[in-house]
Symmetry: C2
Subunit: 296 residues, 2 copies
């Protein structure tokens, strides 16, 4: 399997779906829709939707039934980025190498665009639930919807802890708690959505949840490493930003080398889980390795 | 029927349910939960949940099945107030005579508390859907969930138009469009939720929707009138605030007397709709009159 090729195929599928869902609405709030679309379509790795689709494909082929959830999760992710970037929170001017939403539009528009994307995610889910006629499928999707709301709640809690501890010393327990929620909760959710809709057994679901928790943590550690030693032109984010802002990260907490060692260890554990699914697990395996090796 | 007595009974029921749902969570994000609870339990008329319950009771008695939606709508309403009050939007310091969320806590907490309340509303709905075993009931609730997300989308569009036109001249078409969405969409939704869950006929649903649109408009006009000539100690909001900020309202647009005439006319039309339901429609009838006559 050519991982990069496969990844691009997934990304393209997700981009197409996102563009389809974010369609023009009526005139007066046109700018609000533009602002939602601006952030949603501004690029990014689309890791979360791809996790849903690729986990599902371990078990089944027709990924269409996952699409509303893949789209919804990317809307939630982008809502959280818009609000995170706001002056009162991270006060960032750039995201994916482009102006952040409040810099491109203005602060009130960015607040409402974030709200709008979160709500639109739930609209997409509600449409899918309403149109699901098969009772077994509906039951699985209701479980997914419920887990979805819980994961978003966890994400917000993690963001809150992040803002609360900015510039303050943080215990490693809290650091882990923060990451587990802020970035980990959605990643865990995505893998679980794919497995639940794919009708994985309980044991498979638990193992894949563990895979997700590992790559979620790895993703954050890698982000922290990139923020310290990445190439600003490639990451699109200023290097040393976290340290300058006195943010608590894996790198500021453990130092660069130890952070890299932790990353290595948990990725190899994640890889071991995917290997149980043989060829079907190959994409998730390569994805774990990619998370470790990516340069943006 | 003693309307005031009945209203208090409904309010108490709603307060109890809200308190039950906003329960303490774990330690690290305690302040975030406190901040959500602060705004949710800060008072207010609870008009929206009461509209759901009282419309439902035209048709059926067991209001328990409406409670998750009544609670969810009040969470959405309070989320929108928290974000509306933010410095970048209305920049208000007081709400229900208390400090606004960002004044009591801080701006980043207020942003996340608003996000958290919106998401929690959907959590409450997801729990209810997951636990609904009766297929017919589930079908009605899925319709409700779908309409819920659409109404919140409309509310956000209305808020956006409101911020966009602040301090600028606005046509009466846009003024109406803004109100219809900003406050009207949720009020309309509430009556529809009550009627849908109560299994109203299509004709009854349409008529009650028209009632809701009328009282929604009346509510906004009355708010505008109170903002111009209300008692600051009773409304908890500074008098003349809208005019000073150059906000476009029914009063600044049509003048005080004409605004009162419009209010009178649409309330009598709303009352006529409730009279079709005889004794069962009495609460909604009195509610329409109360909206016109309230002093806060």
């Amino acid at each position: 399997m050519d991982f990069k090729e496969e990844l691009k195929k997934y990304q393209k599928k997700v981009e197409n779906e996102l563009a389809k869902y974010i369609k023009d609405k009526n005139c007066p709030e046109k700018t609000l829709n533009e602002s939602m679309e601006y952030s949603l379509m501004a690029g990014g790795k689309r890791l979360r939707p791809i996790l849903i689709l690729s986990t599902y494909q371990i078990f089944k082929d027709n990924i269409e039934c996952c699409m509303p959830y893949a789209v919804a999760i990317e809307m939630i992710h982008n809502f959280s980025l818009i609000h995170d970037d706001l002056p009162a929170i991270d006060n960032d001017d750039f995201r994916h190498g482009k102006l952040t939403n409040h810099k491109k539009f203005n602060e009130s528009t960015a607040i409402l665009a974030g709200d709008g994307l979160m709500n639109y995610a739930y609209y997409v889910i509600s449409e899918d639930l309403k149109n699901t006629t098969d009772p077994q499928g509906l039951m699985l999707k209701l479980k997914v919807f419920n887990e979805f709301t819980i994961a978003v709640d966890r994400m917000l809690a993690g963001e809150y802890v992040d803002t609360e501890f900015e510039g303050k010393p943080i215990s490693s327990d809290y650091l882990e708690y923060m990451h587990k929620n802020k970035t980990g909760a959605l990643i865990r959710l995505c893998v679980r959505i794919g497995a639940i809709l794919g009708e994985a057994t309980d044991e498979q679901l638990e193992e894949l949840t563990s895979y997700a928790e590992k790559i979620g943590l790895a993703f954050q550690i890698k982000d922290d490493i990139l923020s310290e030693e990445g190439d600003e032109l490639i990451t699109g984010k200023p290097v040393g930003n976290d340290r300058e802002k006195n943010k608590c990260t894996y790198v500021t907490k453990y130092g660069l080398q130890e952070a890299k060692d932790i990353l290595e260890k948990i990725i190899s554990e994640a890889v071991a889980i995917t290997e149980k699914h043989g060829e079907k697990g190959e994409f998730l395996k390569q994805l774990a390795i990619y998370i470790k090796e990516r340069n943006k």
